[in-house]
Structures are given as structure tokens and as C-alpha cells.
Amino acid sequence: MHFTRLHLSKLSISLAVAAATAFALTTAHVARAYHTHFIALNCNTNNPQPTSSFTRDGSTSVALRAQYEGYQWAGGCWNDNNVDDSPGDPTEDPNTGGEGPDCSGFTFKVWRESTTESDAGGYQWNMLRTIHGPYTAARFRNGDGAPNTTYPKSGLIRMDALASANHIGLIYAPNANGTDQIIEAKGEAYGTNIWTRTYRGDSNYSGVRRVGWSG
């Protein structure tokens, strides 16, 4: 009787261990499906380089390094291999550690801003530096922070932005038909790229300008 009980107990433990192992493997498999660990494997926390002058053209150059890279909600680290290295991350999870910026993190880095909101100076962030910055799209839209100001939409030029409550994109080039080519971190299914958009005329969007361009 004692032997049988012991035997059953061992069996239960074995089954529990097997079940736990199976669960762990299943969970690990699910996690592996989207956790590419891009940030953990590639990104850094280096200090930015203060820069006394920053030009629209220089910021265009910064922006174009992110072209064809991924999108990561609350993210801000990317390489320049023209591939989304973390495709298919769940859109509702900001902690997947994937490649790419989100729209406001992209704008912060391209506009070369400080994490201190009262500082309007220029700070060159390395593309592999994980940083989002303090501003959401809505805060950019409001012109919050010393580097940012609202601006009439009809006067916006290259590297000015159009921001709504949920999204922000940077003007890359105007088109002859009145649309704009916008460079933006659009979403997980889109990544970061240049698309034609009609944000300028859309009343959901407001004009935003980075102050202090040196050219």
C-alpha cells in the first residue's frame, strides 16, 4: 500500500514535471515567435553628442538611415541594413524589444533633441542608442518642450512635422499634386519609410516645427 502510494506520488510528480516542461516549451516557442531580442543584442545606452548646429539636411540624413527598418511601439533603436529585423511583433506590446522607432521616438531622434524638456539644444543620438524621448505624438502636436513649437501647416517645409493625437510624420518632400512625401514610423505592418500622405490638409493633424535649425 505504502509502495503504491509512493509510486503514485512519483508518477504525479513526473506528470507535473512533464506538464511544466511542455508548458515552458510552448511558452518559450510563443515568446520566440516575436522576441528577436534586437534591443538586447544590438542596442546601447551611449550618451548623445551635443551639437551646436543642426541642419534640416542633416536631420534628413538621420531620418533616411531608418528607412526600410522596423517599427517598435515605444522603441528607438535601429540599424541601417534596410530590413525589419523584428517583423510581426504583437502591436499591443511595447516590450517586445524589437527594432525600430515609433513615430514620436523617430521624430525625437531625427530632430536631435534632449531628454530634458527645457533644453532646446541639439543632441546627436547614435541610431543604435535605445531612446524614445519624452514626447508622445500628442505632445509634439501641442508644441510641448523647449525644442518644439506649433506652426501653420501651409508654411511647413522639409523636416517640419504633421502631428495628430496618435501619430506624427516628418515632411520629406512636397508633391506637385499637393500631397506630401512623409517619412514616418507608421506601424508594425509598415515599418519606417517614405509614403505619400495627405496629412497637411487633414484637420486631425497640426503643424509642428523644431526650433533652432542652423540651416
Partner: protein, 482 residues
């Protein structure tokens, strides 16, 4: 004596010490000078040659050139230069490094013949890295001139031609000599015209008969990104979030049938074909690829797929030989799918070489549209040049020209007018004497759609794709002149 000797020896020692100190300081200054000069020379050499030797981290395809073409000119424009914005290779740590480019604009009077070369020079007036080519007065005043640019990055050796078709498909600038000029005045927001009928509607959601919204916490809502209407009144709406098309039969605005389509599920434009199938232009390509045009038959089966030649595909229209796609950075309409070849390079070259600044129409003409400040310009063009043209002036800013199509002896044009807080669409039927019909249409663009896919004209009706927080709809407006 000994004192003198002592004093003399002391002075000599002091002098030696002073001389040694001076020599040390001179040596130090010389060393620092040599070091600084060497560092500057090395830095300069590194920047100058680094791209070729791989010492600098320059991004691939980093030379990007854009040009806002003066498609439709008037005599009072005083056009004297062509402008190009250039972004060139720069090390990641020196993004503001000035470009080192050489460029030439090839320009000619008219649309045939040889081009003359004009060098590009830096525009000192510009806030961005802009280059200009001075336009000869005798060219700028002609009824038409055509041009393209070749820009070379001296650091990387990369060369870009814009438009990409070069001499085979240059940009064309046309002079409007006798345009019909209409003035819209200051727009009064909030007084909109009502639609004649709602021909399609669906609530947002995932059940049968519902249209989907794309996922994403940071996304503005995106859904039902394009539509078309055929001659029978059947409405087809691309429900890309559900990877399907919703088909609303005439007289059944609330009872769509769904047809699965193999699409990515991102913003795309759609056009109905005569055989009951549709063409779908995906704005997002597969990783590393350009956007794709898919052709589906009436059962939803894919019958063809073609990549666009350029990186940004904006709008899909029907041309005389098949689909036309407005592509950037060239900013031209390109026939996609016309070359039935598996060789993507040949297909791409065919698109670029057969591109045109105007949208080709079935009757051989082209329609050209340009927004210039708070003015929109429209021209119908045939082989002889401009046959009819319109200038639409507005005291309220104009954004995009959503649609411009021939209509009777004139055109129908849909523009978006905006302030910093409001926007509305204005639909105009324009004839030889000016505005024949004018409509104000509420934007109703709660969900984002393809950029130039909100309006279609079929027969004498204008259809508008709109959306609210509860769902999408298609409204019909009558364009017949009362």
C-alpha cells in the same frame, strides 16, 4: 672675482635654463601644431576618401534627390531656375556634413530634340541643401520644355537620374496661355452639400458585413482604404484589414458580400476592371521590395503581380493600356503590368521609360494637375500641346488635388481646402466658361485611406469614400449641371 665668477656662472646657468625652457615650449608648440595639422589633414582625407575605402559608415543608396516640377506655368510665374533638394552620403556622426555633389540638368525647348546641359549650383538662399539650375530665358518662355537631372555624389560615386527614365521620359513643363480662371474666394467651412444617396455602408468590426480597422496602438485608425464603382453601380470596397473586398450590389447599400483577396493588410488603392476583377496597388512591399500591383479575377484569384519601378507608389488609375501608377521620386505616371515579362529589371525599365508627367487617358490625351500655393492648375493635353486649361484660385489654402478627370467638354476636379483646424473637399465641374457646378463635401475621414482614393467619377456621378467612428460609407453626388 669669485663673486663675479659666481655671478657669471649663475647668469649663464639661468640663461641656459631659460633657453632650455624656451626650447621646450617651442618644441611643445611645434608638436601640438604638427599634431593638429596632421589631425585636420587625416580627418579631411578620411571624409574625402572614406566612402570609397569603407572607412566611413555611409548608408547604402544614400543619395536621394527630389524636385517639385513646374508642370503647369503661367506667364506671371517668372520661372528662372529648376530646384533640387539633395540628401547625400554622410557619416553617422557627421550628418550635417555638406554634400559634395556634381550635377547637370538636361533641358530642351519642346518635347523632342536634343537637350542642353546646365550645371547645378548650390542655392545660397535655401534653408535645406538645395541646388538650382539657371533656366535660359528662351527655354522658360516656350509653350513647353522638358528636362531631367543627373546628380553624382563625389564621395560615394553614386549617381541618381531624376526622373529615373532620363531622356526617355523627362519632366515636362507646359505654359498655360489662355487658362479659364476661376476664383473660389474664402471658403466658408461647415456649409456642406448633402449626398444624393448612400450607396454603401458597413460598421467597423469583425463580423459578417463589417469592415475592419488595422491594428496598432500608435496608429491613427486605418480601414477601408480604397474603393471603386462600376458602370452597373456596384461598389467594391477594399477591406484590407480583413484581407478581403466588400461588394455592394446596386440598391443594396447595407448587404455586402465578402471576397477574400491575398493582400498584405496595409493601405492599398483599388480599381475595378471590366471583367469583374480588380487591381490592387499595395503601398507597402515585401521586405526589400518596392510596392506591388496585384490583379485579381472576379473570383478573387490572383492572376498577376508586378512590382513598381520606384519606392513610393501613390495612386492607381486606369490608362489606355492598363493600370497607371503615380510613382516617386520621379513623380510620374507609370504603366505597370504592361510588360508581361518575368524579368523584373526589364519590367522596371519599361515603366521608367514609358512614364509621363500627366495621367494618360483612354482617348490618347493626358490630364495634368498641379497645386501651386493656394491655386490649382489643370490642363488637358494632346500631341499638339495644351488644348484646355483652368486656374482655380482660392483665398483659403488648398491641399491635395484628390481627383481631376475629363467630364463632358471640361473637367471635374476635387480639391481639399484647409485651415489649421478645419478641412473640407470642394468638387468642381469646370467648363469653357468657368465653374458649372460646385459642391462642398464634409471630409469624413476618421479612418485613413489611400491618399488619392477618396473619390471616383462614374458616368455623371461623383462617389465619395468616407468614414466615422462607427463605420465606413460611400456616398453618391450628382454632377449634372442644373
Amino acid at each position: 672675482m669669485s663673486l663675479w665668477m659666481s655671478t657669471e656662472t649663475g647668469d649663464r646657468n639661468n640663461r641656459r635654463r631659460r633657453e632650455r625652457r624656451i626650447r621646450s615650449v617651442v618644441a611643445m608648440v611645434a608638436a601640438i601644431t604638427v599634431g593638429v595639422v596632421t589631425a585636420v589633414l587625416v580627418a579631411g582625407w578620411t571624409v574625402a576618401t572614406g566612402a570609397r575605402t569603407g572607412l566611413l559608415d555611409l548608408q547604402d543608396g544614400s543619395l536621394q534627390v527630389t524636385n517639385l516640377p513646374p508642370l503647369l506655368r503661367t506667364a506671371d510665374d517668372r520661372l528662372d531656375e529648376l530646384r533640387y533638394d539633395v540628401t547625400c552620403a554622410a557619416p553617422e556622426t557627421l550628418p550635417d556634413l555638406a554634400c559634395d555633389i556634381a550635377g547637370t540638368v538636361f533641358v530642351r525647348s519642346g518635347t523632342t530634340g536634343s537637350f542642353q546641359a546646365i550645371p547645378l549650383a548650390v542655392d545660397p538662399k535655401s534653408e535645406v541643401d538645395r541646388y538650382v539650375a539657371s533656366l535660359p530665358a528662351d527655354v522658360a518662355s516656350r509653350p513647353a520644355f522638358s528636362y531631367y537631372a543627373v546628380v553624382h555624389d563625389n564621395r560615394t560615386g553614386e549617381t541618381v537620374t531624376l526622373p529615373a527614365g532620363g531622356a526617355a521620359a523627362p519632366q515636362t513643363s507646359l505654359l498655360l496661355t489662355r487658362p479659364v480662371t476661376v476664383s473660389l474666394g474664402k471658403h466658408g467651412f461647415g456649409t456642406v452639400d448633402h449626398a444624393a444617396a448612400r450607396v454603401a455602408s458597413a460598421l467597423w468590426g469583425d463580423g459578417p458585413g463589417r469592415a475592419g480597422l488595422e491594428d496598432g496602438p500608435q496608429l491613427e485608425p486605418i480601414g477601408a482604404s480604397s474603393f471603386d464603382v462600376d458602370a452597373t453601380g456596384t461598389v467594391r470596397v477594399l477591406d484590407e484589414a480583413h484581407h478581403q473586398m466588400l461588394r455592394f450590389g446596386a440598391g443594396h447599400p447595407n448587404a455586402p458580400t465578402a471576397l477574400p483577396l491575398e493582400v498584405r493588410g496595409t493601405i492599398a488603392d483599388l480599381r475595378a476592371n471590366l471583367d469583374g476583377g480588380v487591381d490592387v496597388l499595395e503601398s507597402v512591399g515585401a521586405p526589400g521590395d518596392t510596392p506591388v500591383l496585384h490583379r485579381f479575377d472576379a473570383s478573387g484569384r490572383t492572376t498577376g503581380s508586378w512590382h513598381t519601378a520606384e519606392k513610393t507608389a501613390t495612386a492607381l488609375r486606369v490608362g489606355p493600356g492598363g493600370p497607371l501608377v503615380l510613382e516617386y521620386p520621379s513623380g510620374e505616371w507609370m504603366p505597370v503590368g504592361a510588360t508581361q515579362t518575368a524579368d523584373s529589371r526589364t519590367a522596371s525599365a519599361s515603366q521608367l521609360e514609358n512614364a509621363s508627367p500627366g495621367q494618360r487617358l483612354a482617348d490618347g490625351r493626358q490630364i495634368v494637375a498641379q497645386r501651386e500655393g493656394s491655386e490649382a492648375r489643370i490642363a488637358l493635353v494632346d500631341a499638339r500641346g495644351v488644348t484646355a486649361s483652368w486656374r482655380i484660385r482660392s483665398a483659403t489654402p488648398l491641399a491635395e488635388i484628390q481627383l481631376a478627370e475629363p467630364f463632358g467638354s471640361g473637367v471635374v476636379v476635387v480639391l481639399r481646402t484647409y485651415s489649421d483646424t478645419q478641412d473640407e473637399f470642394i468638387a468642381l465641374v469646370l467648363g469653357t466658361h468657368g465653374i458649372e457646378r460646385r459642391l462642398s463635401i464634409a471630409p469624413d475621414d476618421w479612418a485613413e485611406a489611400a491618399p488619392l482614393a477618396r473619390f471616383r467619377v462614374v458616368s455623371s456621378s461623383l462617389y465619395h469614400l468616407g468614414s466615422t467612428p462607427t463605420g465606413m460609407f460611400v456616398d453618391r453626388y450628382d454632377l449634372e449641371v442644373r
